[in-house]
């Protein structure tokens, strides 16, 4: 069974269509790049998968079910912003995840935090932007989820932090899980992707494996993206 399935999925904000008639299937065990320029509908798709938005028409299924409490228990989501309350300490954030997510591996999270040299008593608000993003990524990837939805995980961080984030993603997701990474920084993520989905104005333009793109088109994903989305 596919882990994520969209059937004629559409979402409009008033008169403006953010997604229109998206048909998409993602299988477990794949790292998928959700690529497209700003405003192409990447974040909307991820929000729909998380149940933060409801579709205007069509449906989105996670592991065969509509977004619900049950699907939230198997989806690990990294939003494109800092969502941990500033007053919380890192230890309290670990408690929070541990209390609500049965698949949270506290030991793994603590080990990763220790490697970063973070003090567990430190408040989230005292962390730098980069450290906050790393902490949030560690919490997200410390779950043994079936689907990881990472919205712009490397946006707005320095190259060294990007490498750290990508290493963390690759070394922590389970083989049976799917990872969807939404980004427009293609060159940085290309090395870790199995498949790519190109979104343009709310529609899927292309859904192919990275290998196919390289073998059949003789191009890197970054080159193909620049070609397809040339202004």
């Amino acid at each position: 069974m596919s882990i994520l399935e969209c059937r004629a999925l559409s979402k409009s904000y008033g008169a403006k269509a953010a997604l229109s008639g998206v048909d998409l299937t993602i299988e477990p065990g794949r790292i998928v790049g959700l690529l497209g320029p700003n405003g192409s509908g990447k974040t909307t798709l991820i929000k729909l998968a998380n149940g933060l938005l409801t579709p205007t028409s069509g449906e989105i299924l996670i592991d065969g079910r509509k977004p619900s409490r049950a699907t939230k228990a198997i989806v690990s989501y990294l939003p494109d912003r800092s969502t941990l309350p500033g007053w919380m300490s890192i230890a309290q954030a670990l408690d929070y995840y541990g209390d609500f997510y049965a698949d949270f591996r506290r030991g793994v999270a603590e080990q990763m935090l220790m490697n970063l040299g973070l003090d567990r008593t430190q408040k989230i608000k005292t962390l730098s932007k980069g450290m906050r993003e790393k902490t949030q990524l560690i919490l997200t990837m410390s779950r043994e989820a079936k689907l990881y939805l990472l919205d712009e995980p490397i946006g707005g961080v320095d190259p060294a932090t990007r490498d750290y984030i990508l290493r963390t993603i690759i070394s922590n997701y389970s083989e049976d899980a799917a990872v969807i990474i939404s980004t427009h920084l293609i060159a940085d993520v290309e090395q870790v992707l199995d498949e790519v989905v190109f979104l343009r104005e709310g529609q899927v333009m292309l859904h192919e494996s990275v290998e196919q793109i390289r073998d059949e088109k003789g191009k890197s994903v970054d080159e193909l993206f620049r070609e397809v989305f040339r202004c």
């Binding site: 409801t54 409490r69 800092s82």
Partner: protein
């Protein structure tokens, strides 16, 4: 999951409420101390000014105490659900019903605590610490009076206490839910979210006042005998009916507030 939500809600709100309670008690003690000094004869004008300011601060503190749980709960709903934290909160494997109920329970507990702290503060302000030595006598007097009552009156008294308790819970919940509803609608707009929220809060509370007046009128019309021939025999029944009527009104606002909040948070959520 409800118990975990409650635990984390207490953790998040306790860091504000405990200092508020401690601050209020400290302010009361200071005010009482200054009053004792001021009663002691000729006092420097500066100390007198400080004493007056402490009394004003005490009164303002009581008002703040009365509104603190509601204000905190409203801000918490905004920050925890409708702003960036909402990305985390609304993707937890819990239902919105559990989330709402946890917030209402925690808020009701803080209201009860604020009521007790307010009562303590008033007692200290009115008669000082020495008044507390009479507290056990007060309780024993209440018990003696209760068991000295006629059996039928005892039933009425218990029912009235129960209804007062329910009224307290429903009133607190209705106020919270109306504010949550205003926030949920206000934050569904793309612009001027806070302004919309403030306008909606004012409109909703105005509507609540009109409804309360209409319900009182309806009550008098529905049960005219209770009030026209008011005598000792039907006073308890009249109070019970009035409290029940009040509860119905509060429940109505709870249901409307809950439904609006639920609808706008699930169907019209507009996280940035």
């Amino acid at each position: 999951m409800l118990s975990k939500l409650i635990k984390h809600e207490f953790r998040a709100t306790g860091r504000i409420m405990w200092p508020v309670f401690l601050g209020m008690l400290a302010l009361t003690a200071l005010m009482r101390f200054s009053q004792l000094l001021l009663n002691g004869g000729h006092i420097h004008w500066l100390l007198q000014l400080i004493g007056v300011l402490l009394v004003i601060g005490f009164v303002l503190g009581l008002f703040a105490l009365a509104f603190a749980p509601l204000v905190l709960s409203a801000c918490r709903w905004r920050d925890h659900v409708l702003k960036d934290e909402g990305y985390l909160t609304l993707t937890l494997p819990v239902s919105l019903h559990q989330l709402l109920i946890s917030k209402l329970i925690v808020s009701a507990v803080w209201y009860a605590a604020a009521f007790i702290v307010g009562l303590f503060s008033l007692l200290i302000a009115a008669s000082g610490w020495s008044a507390f030595q009479y507290a056990p006598d007060l309780f024993s007097d209440v018990f003696t009076a209760f068991f000295g009552m006629d059996v039928s009156l005892r039933g009425h008294a218990l029912l009235i206490v129960f209804e007062l308790f329910c009224n307290f819970v429903f009133a607190v919940s209705a106020a919270e839910l109306v504010v949550y509803a205003a926030y949920s609608i206000g934050y569904s707009f793309n612009k001027h979210k806070e302004l919309w929220t403030v306008i909606l809060i004012l409109v909703f509370f105005e509507l609540a006042q009109f409804t309360a007046i209409a319900m009182i009128g309806l009550f008098i019309q529905t049960f005219p005998d209770t009030w026209i021939s008011l005598d000792a025999s039907n006073v308890p029944t009249g109070i019970e009916l009035l409290l029940l009527w009040g509860m119905l009104g509060e429940l109505l606002f709870c249901v409307i507030g809950y439904a609006v909040t639920w609808f706008f948070t699930t169907k019209k959520l507009n996280l940035e």
